[in-house]
Amino acid sequence: MMNTTEPLAQRTEDQVPACVTMPAAEILETPEAYLLLLDMPGAPKESITLAVTEDGLVVEAMVAPRPAENARMLLQEIRTTAYRRAFALGKGIDANAIEAGCAEGVLTVTLRKSAKVQPREITITS
């Protein structure tokens, strides 16, 4: 993965190799929908893509490069340059009604349950 053998402190930012991270997720369920929260610090809203493929819901994002001209790296714990994670979609999710919003580096995806899995009451008519 590492292309150079130099100590990190002597490398500049552009030499740090690409690193795709799986973002941490929280999945919540309400009566109407599932909520998927993903921690993607550093990824601007414009860089985030959501796609429903045969693998399920695929979320990808790019971390905005941080300018580091003439800088010497003293500590480098943030290596992520991109995020990627896929989630299988259950049958009860309406794939056509997926919404997403992003704030403070957290992506919130709302996956509505399809009408047929939502609880409903049936009145006895006769």
């Binding site: 309400t30 610090p41 809203k45 714990e77």
Partner: protein, 148 residues
């Protein structure tokens, strides 16, 4: 300086079976072994620190934390970043199916490598990344001295 252990998660097709194993183990043990949540709770936010002649720049990963919930202090050469990550409002009354995201307080302190001008420290919080710019004090900047 304290360096927090942060395993890399790299998507390499040949390594995918390993991640599948990890995921299965996680399902069994409830993610006790290595969840991002625990890493955050114990070690504080991940950092990047770089410097040039004029300034030291500290970047911290604090997704989901509001600007008003972050505190930065510079005292006797030590920089402390602390704050609170609140539970998202959407989580109220919802059933949690999977949780890898830790909430609560965090704090991280480290020694600054240069003497800095505490008056001119600036910080921004964009997309969950906190960037603190610490200009070096005049006395700490390299300068050449002429022989007279």
């Amino acid at each position: 300086m304290f360096v927090r252990f942060q395993p890399l998660r790299v998507e390499v097709p040949s390594l995918r079976p390993l991640f599948d194993v990890e995921r299965s183990l996680e399902d069994v043990f409830g993610g006790i072994l290595d969840t991002p949540a625990l890493k955050t709770a114990s070690g504080g936010p991940a950092l990047e620190i770089r410097e040039n002649e004029k300034e030291t720049v500290v970047v911290a990963e604090i997704p989901g934390v509001a600007k008003e919930d972050v505190k930065i202090s510079v005292h006797t050469g030590l920089l402390t970043i602390s704050g609170t990550r609140k539970r998202p409002g959407a989580a109220e009354g919802a059933k949690v199916l999977r949780n890898e995201i830790a909430v609560g307080t965090f704090s991280r302190t480290f020694e600054l490598p240069q003497s800095i001008d505490a008056e001119k420290v600036e910080a921004t919080l964009v997309n969950g990344l906190l960037t603190i710019t610490l200009p070096h004090s005049e006395s700490a900047r390299p300068r050449s001295i002429q022989i007279t």
